[in-house]
Subunit: 410 residues, 2 copies
């Protein structure tokens, strides 16, 4: 039979979903698995979404305009205005999830063989889209000691080569929870200007920040720096409105040529889901209280996870400034102790506490560079998503600690 | 500022949407535009879809599994069984529209620079996905005289080269309405076997066939020929259930490796829309009467369009066997008369009849080869989508005739 292409074989499996069969087997053994591994929060979708969907009475569920329905683009422009960001409806291309915004942006500026630069630990799906498009991902490693903030500018300089077309970053960050400071984004802006690159900001966790930290949007930094033509914001309604299943995102840029290219790609796939757009449009003017409640809830959870982790001897874990993930370095992956993959497996296959266990995401899935002496590439790190309510999360963290202790003692 | 990539610039605009601004201007002048240009039918979405969506009460609109919700895959397997096609739920990867099934299938078997072969007049979005993936499309031209059936096998042989990875066809066909006979599909199967290629069948119009014609599915032809490992069906619920805006399709294959690759791409984009999947699942066991009513309605409309066109002197238009399009050759594009683009523009800008006009899709948008002496490449052809109810369609065709006459007389 015919073989797949290199591309078809090289699109990576989701590192998070790889362990799902083990979790399923644990559940079959009657064990409750607390999922700390995925970015699917348990927080309720605002009822106004479902109300709008149910109120939407049409005889035919028709294609939406490829660039998104006017009602949603207008409403999203209003949401940006409420966030202090000036974005006209015409500067927004509605996409099928933030995922498609990433795909369109990368496709618009790269040819096969070109490179983009991003930072690890990274959102692993960047690698999937790059593989689909036949482009290379060069990575700059950020470190637990620095709270996963940007390293010295030279490290970014070293990653940029003649085929680099764009710098891509995620802030507030998945998987690190790190929020880049304005000076850091300005550093990226300068690198983009100096090397004639596009700058892509994945800002899907924009509002999920703590202690009064504000996540500066590339929209404002680029405007202040006069590089709006190079700046593209990749956005999604999934996390800020608990709409993961709606599949509605956006590509936002002042670069009309890039937008036109994205719209042509959008025409090829006809339209984004109509019902998701109708429902999402109804949430764009939720009052600030919506985000305050969201932040308060996630902050409570973050503190539970952070306190539980730092109470474990040998764990290095800075308190993250945003998103709903903690990336922690554990005292594993050393002589005689397995790595984070082994730990995640162990918790699902060889450990339980009162018929309960936890599932965590091994750090290895968030690195693009292979492990080396200077960079264990996640072998000693895990990501915990605090997507469970406080009591359950507290219980899950106690179980995790006991599991880790047992893993280290084995 | 930084430039887009060759890819970013080369993704083609939808030829159908290109004329939209002219239609909008006509509407602003108070003219009613009958849209014969797009594949968005006016037939009602079955109420069971909306009922299922409204009944779906969950606190959180969560991600669906990347490969699709089990309920929909099971129900779709049942739909295939009712259609006489044996497809297990595990052989189905749910995609975001048939569009994404095309993207995933092409990406799985091609590397940048590889080629696929398809037939023109073609579904123009194939070109968009090929451009995004950095692959070339070689085309075999089918002709109005042959009812757009396959030409002599030598023509296909000539199009296949060392970098060809797959043959892609659409039957019942958009834009031609042609339904390939079983022997024609067998001819493609043999070519795929001989040249070690994949064979992709776009079967989204499967049930929309007339006069007892049956569109043989690649699922059955491949099974009978023992090439199931090479065969992939690209499918969608959009046309057969009037669910264009739901964005639910499927990639169906017995090739486990290709399916695994598609699932990994599906993981990168997380999931297809949850509400669309819930609603679509409720339609998969609609009784045969649903399709009989659909066919009867489209057949009535086809006859109206076909009769109206053949009554115009100089028009060549075979009666199509399926889908809801007529591709017709007009007595234009000759000395002193403009081509199909000019005609489509003329109808929107310089013609009206009682404050009404029509919008048609110029044939040029459905060809990949440039016009030449032997192949006018759509300059003298148009596509009419019979997506309006009979009375309106009759009126629209009368207006079209008068518009064409005036265009030819100018």
């Amino acid at each position: 039979m015919s073989d797949l292409s290199r591309r078809g074989r090289s699109v990576p499996a989701s590192p998070i979903r790889r362990l799902v069969p083990l979790a399923d087997q644990a559940k079959k053994r009657g064990i409750t698995v607390h999922h700390l591994n995925i970015g699917q929060p348990d927080i309720a979708t605002p009822e106004a979404f479902f109300d709008a969907v149910r109120r939407f009475r049409v005889p035919v569920l028709a294609y939406a305009p490829s660039e998104g329905i006017a009602e949603l683009r207008d409403a999203m422009s209003g949401y940006f205005r409420n966030s202090g960001l000036g974005v006209a409806p015409e500067e927004i291309v509605i996409t099928t999830g933030g995922s498609e915004a990433i795909l369109f942006a990368l496709a618009a500026v790269t040819d096969p063989g070109d490179e983009i630069v991003t930072f690890e630990p990274l959102y692993p799906n960047y690698l999937g889209f790059a593989a689909m498009l036949g482009i290379e991902v060069r990575v700059v490693t950020t470190r637990a000691e620095d709270g996963y903030h940007l390293p010295q500018p030279e490290e970014l300089e070293r990653a940029i080569g003649p085929r680099t077309r764009a710098i891509l970053y995620c802030s507030p960050g998945n998987p690190t929870g790190t929020v880049l400071r304005r000076e850091e984004i300005e550093q990226l802006v300068e690198a983009a200007r100096r090397h004639d690159l596009f700058l892509f900001a994945d800002e899907v966790y924009r509002e999920i920040v703590y202690e009064g930290v504000r996540a500066p949007s590339l929209i404002e930094v680029a405007a202040a720096s006069g590089i709006e033509d190079r700046a593209v914001v990749l956005d999604s309604v999934s996390k800020r409105f608990n709409l993961c299943g709606a599949r509605i995102g956006a590509l936002v840029t002042r670069n009309a040529e890039l937008r036109a290219s994205a719209v042509r790609m959008a025409q090829a796939r006809l339209s984004s889901p109509t019902l998701g757009q109708i429902g999402a449009a109804a949430l764009m003017d939720l009052p600030p209280a919506h985000f305050e409640v969201l932040r308060a809830e996630y902050r409570r959870r973050r503190d539970i996870v952070h306190e539980a982790l730092t109470a474990i001897p040998g764990v290095l874990c800075r308190r993250p400034e945003g998103a709903f993930y903690v990336f922690a370095r554990l005292p594993i992956a050393r002589k005689g102790i397995g790595d984070s993959d082994d730990l995640a497996r162990f918790l699902l296959t060889d450990f339980e506490e009162g018929k309960e266990t936890v599932m965590v995401a091994p750090g290895t899935g968030f690195y693009a560079t292979p492990a080396s002496a200077s960079n264990p590439a996640g072998a000693d790190e895990i990501r915990i998503a605090y997507v469970l309510e406080s009591d359950r999360l507290r219980r899950a963290m106690a179980i995790f600690r006991h599991g880790l202790e047992k893993f280290c003692a084995v």
